[in-house]
């Protein structure tokens, strides 16, 4: 699957997990550990969050793959038989938030009156 290779478990981890369950107690505990880097965001524990963020792939190809993943995730809300405005509204809401963050530096000086 394009763009989602780094998110799925590599196949050998699954096999190890199965053989671990069948062979012994200690083996199963060791075999079911997934490295922090490969976990999805919702499975990362709170204490591991900074290390998860720092271990992400920030190279240009990594960033491109992240955008590709996001695009395909978004596409499943658009590529339906009866699309509606809810799909586009999601993107526009994010765009408004993003623009707000960009212009925060000017906006924080706004006041309703000059002297209170």
């Amino acid at each position: 699957m394009t763009g989602s290779g780094s998110r799925h478990l590599p196949p050998q981890d699954l096999c190890l997990h199965e053989t671990g369950m069948s062979s012994g107690h200690q083996d199963s505990k060791m075999a079911s550990v997934i490295s922090v880097k490969d976990k999805k965001l919702l499975e990362v524990k709170l204490g591991e969050l900074p290390s998860w963020i720092l271990m992400q792939d920030f190279s240009p190809s990594g960033i491109f793959r992240a955008f590709q993943r996001g695009y395909y995730w978004y596409y499943k809300y658009i590529d339906v038989r009866k699309g509606s405005i809810s799909g586009v509204t999601m993107v526009l809401a994010c765009y408004v938030l993003f623009s707000y963050c960009l212009s925060y530096k000017h906006l924080k000086r706004e006041r309703l009156r000059k002297y209170y």
Binding site: Y71, I78, D79, V80, R81, K82, G83, S84, G87, V88, V91, L92, Y95, V96, S99, Y100, L102, S103, K105, H106, L107, R109, E110, R111, L112, K114
Partner: protein
């Protein structure tokens, strides 16, 4: 009050890095690329709109003029989506910058002039003199027509810039007025309705795109056919 009324028009920065290129490229994410002959509802709507505008624009051209259809369709799509996205609350509209509009207008206009001069030299030069002018007026009229020709790209760019900028500025001003008056005076209701009407009329920014492409089109048409 804003610290300066023109801060929404300044170039956006992310951590002091210029961020204009991602913002200019953002409308491409909103345009679908359907891959099937019969698509879902959204893609069909988009397809029908594109077909409608294409047909309207390219009907009046001959075969040589119709080679420009991709350029003109992408121009109108880009300008329309960019201007409409600029109506979102905190967004930045790249077409408010004169630099960008000049960059769009000058090459396209120059292209039309060059096509006319290369393939129909006599005809395009003959456009400098309208038909039926009295003989003593001819030198002056040629000068005037040349000036009007040379001013076309600047007029295209400045028209688009000024219209969009003025609309956004007016909306900011009226919004600030409504906010300031809401505590003291309830004639805010009247002004709020003015703001809403202005917003709706400003969605005739899309009509501005029509104007943009159409004027470009007219010059191309003249150069190619007559």
């Amino acid at each position: 009050m804003n610290e300066n009324l023109f801060t929404p028009f300044s170039a956006p920065t992310i951590l002091n890095q210029p961020a204009t290129i991602p913002i200019i490229l953002f409308p491409t994410l909103l345009i679908l690329t359907p891959k099937h002959p019969i698509n879902n509802r959204l893609a069909t709507i988009q397809q029908n709109l594109t077909r409608f505008t294409l047909k309207q624009m390219m009907m009046t051209h001959n075969a040589k003029g119709q080679t420009w259809s991709l350029m003109l369709t992408s121009l109108i799509t880009f300008t329309a989506t960019t201007n409409l996205l600029g109506l979102m609350p905190y967004s930045f509209t790249p077409t408010t910058q004169l630099s960008m509009n000049l960059a769009m207008a000058i090459p396209l206009w120059a292209g039309t002039v060059m096509v006319g001069l290369r393939f129909k030299t006599k005809n395009s030069l003959a456009h400098l003199l309208p038909q039926g002018t009295p003989t003593p007026l001819i030198p002056m009229l040629v000068a005037i027509e040349t000036i009007s020709l040379l001013i076309q790209p600047v007029a295209l760019a400045v028209r688009l810039t000024a219209n969009i900028t003025a609309g956004h500025l007016l909306m900011h001003l009226i919004g600030n007025t409504v906010l300031a008056l809401s505590t003291t005076n309830l004639s805010m209701a009247l002004l709020a309705s003015t703001l809403l009407v202005l917003l709706t009329i400003l969605e005739i920014a899309v009509a501005l795109i029509q104007a943009y492409v159409f004027t470009l089109l007219i010059s191309l048409y003249l150069r190619n056919n007559t």
